[in-house]
Symmetry: C2
Subunit: 340 residues, 2 copies
């Protein structure tokens, strides 16, 4: 097999505030053919996820940032296009972390083979992948919802929030979702079985949330921050648990909000209400991956968990789709179909 042309999308410059298309650039290069023990992977699906906004920044975090000029990172589902590795043959489909590009060379490290008969392969990037496991581990290990308790989650039509709410229901809790717009709100109640949906664009969002949580909030799965957090804050019950998974409303912030400084108010509430707030990333719970695959796999087969995908076609659409996602424009797990 001859060398292949490989298109990549690189970080052109670090965004200040909201990312723009100018922060990305395309690059094309030739990829040599795989050597002994190597595999050539063709990207089928690229996952776009909010955490990538963090990687575009220089700020210290749990993972090292992408440097300007480097390729954007990301989870992928790929097909083996050529193999000189004993464990892989052309046509095998794998979960990989190849980033925003059409092809990649691999030595097989960190790959997981996917069985298309078990589930559509791209679910390994969504409900059966990192977002689903984020929901599962954060909600169950930190949130620990009990029957009759109230669980609130924002971005509730998204790949994490939708699973949070559905697992809350499975555990017998009341699930209240916050989402942007009527379509998403209808979807989470009518399709996913949430007990109530609040449109975060509604001017009386806080009042609506209070109405939807007559017994207060016992678990708030935090993935947005901002105005939603403010609305949730006063409704938190004693002993409420708050898994902190993301604060997407703040990812584009360049300065802190103007005052007063409400940190003492938060500390006071943590104390008086005996709140538990705990930040996590999914890999902190890597040991629970088998439990996750078993449980969520079963709930999917039983129809207790549903999911939705938002697919854009072609790698070149990734920057625009990613920028839109940070504004809540996607409806379901955002995927780029890079090839088929």
């Amino acid at each position: 097999m001859p060398a292949v042309k490989n298109k990549q999308i690189l970080l052109a410059s670090r965004p200040v505030g909201e990312p723009s298309p100018a922060n990305f650039k395309s690059a094309e290069s030739e990829l040599r053919e795989p050597g002994e023990g190597e595999i050539l992977l063709k990207t089928l699906w690229l996952s776009l996820d909010p955490y990538m906004r963090g990687r575009m920044s220089a700020a210290k975090s749990y993972a090292k940032p992408v440097e300007p000029g480097e390729m954007m990172v990301g989870g992928t589902v790929s097909e083996v296009a050529a193999s000189k590795h004993k464990d892989y043959k052309p046509g095998d489909v794998v979960l990989s972390y190849d980033g925003w590009q059409q092809y990649a060379l691999s030595k097989g490290m960190g790959l997981r083979k996917l069985d298309p008969k078990q589930a559509p392969v791209q679910t390994a990037l969504g409900v059966l992948g990192m977002p689903g496991m984020t929901a599962y581990t954060g909600l169950l290990a930190i949130g620990q919802p009990k029957a009759k308790e109230t669980v609130v989650v924002a971005a509730a039509a998204g790949p994490v929030g939708s699973v949070v709410g559905q697992i809350a229901k499975i555990k017998g809790a009341r699930a209240v979702g916050i989402a942007g717009g009527k379509d998403k709100c209808d979807y989470i109640v009518k399709e996913l079985g949430f007990d109530a949906a609040i449109d975060h664009r509604a001017p009386d969002m806080a009042a609506k949330l209070k109405e939807a949580c007559p017994n207060g909030i016992d678990v708030y799965f935090e993935n947005v921050g901002g105005a939603v957090w403010d609305a949730v804050f006063s409704l938190l019950n004693d002993f409420a648990r708050i898994p902190v998974c993301g604060i997407v409303a703040h990812y584009n912030d360049t300065t802190l909000p103007s005052g007063p400084d409400r940190t003492p108010m938060l500390m006071g509430a943590i104390l008086r209400k005996r709140l538990t707030m705990r930040g996590f990333i999914v890999w902190d719970f890597a040991a629970q991956e088998k439990d996750f695959q078993r449980d969520v796999g079963q709930w999917l087969r039983e129809g207790k968990i549903k999911y939705r995908e938002d697919v854009v076609e072609g790698l070149e659409k990734a920057p625009e789709a990613f920028i839109g996602m940070l504004k809540g424009k996607n409806f379901g797990k955002l995927l780029v179909r890079v090839a088929s």
Copy 2:
């Protein structure tokens, strides 16, 4: 036995900001003699604790506030002065919650008999009582210090902080204490065995704390808030645990500090560093009282835990001593000797 004259100290008015002597008033009344099944208790020791500042406020909290005109509440060690209760005889000493007064009538509910041979009876208000158990449960159940980790606590010469640091040492951790002034700093290092002490009045407190925590901070036992929290914040390690026990620096606040609003900064750190913050009051861990009595009792006998008392004489001194405590004027567990 005839009726006794009983002096009480009442909440005269709710403080705005720092309490002043004018917020308290004395009252004298006659107490009838105990009826069948009742005990007359003579207060020997009254405990003064920071949580009482909360009770003086109308704000909703885990306990109902004291109303103006009502007696100030508080833990006491009392002697049975007269008894028509089969389980108590004159001379028995009990732990009770009789408040700021010289005498009380009791039906025996909630009393615990104390054995003066086991430990000085007033330790039931300090190292072997609520403050000691606050330290024990908050540090061990939430902070979970491991050997070699760094534990930081403020008000480190006080009845809670001193026990936090000493238990941290027993568990093999590095204990760094923050206290007000050279005497207290010397005491916690030389007497209690802390690894380092920082004077919170020093202008370069944050730099000194950083120096004393070369490997960052794994457990911060929060009982003050304010400038200490600010200094601790940037030194917190990934996966740090923060039992939130009090924010005494803010108890007299009438407004929030001026901006910017640093709440998103805190949320961001909780997320990136995967912090656990959890508020608690000691009675949330009531089930651990036996473990506490066993362990701390043994550590006391072995000399692994030391304690210090700051005694003021006479009930009428309670308001002034209490006001001073909120400013850090006490040195050791603050007790009022009401009678002997």
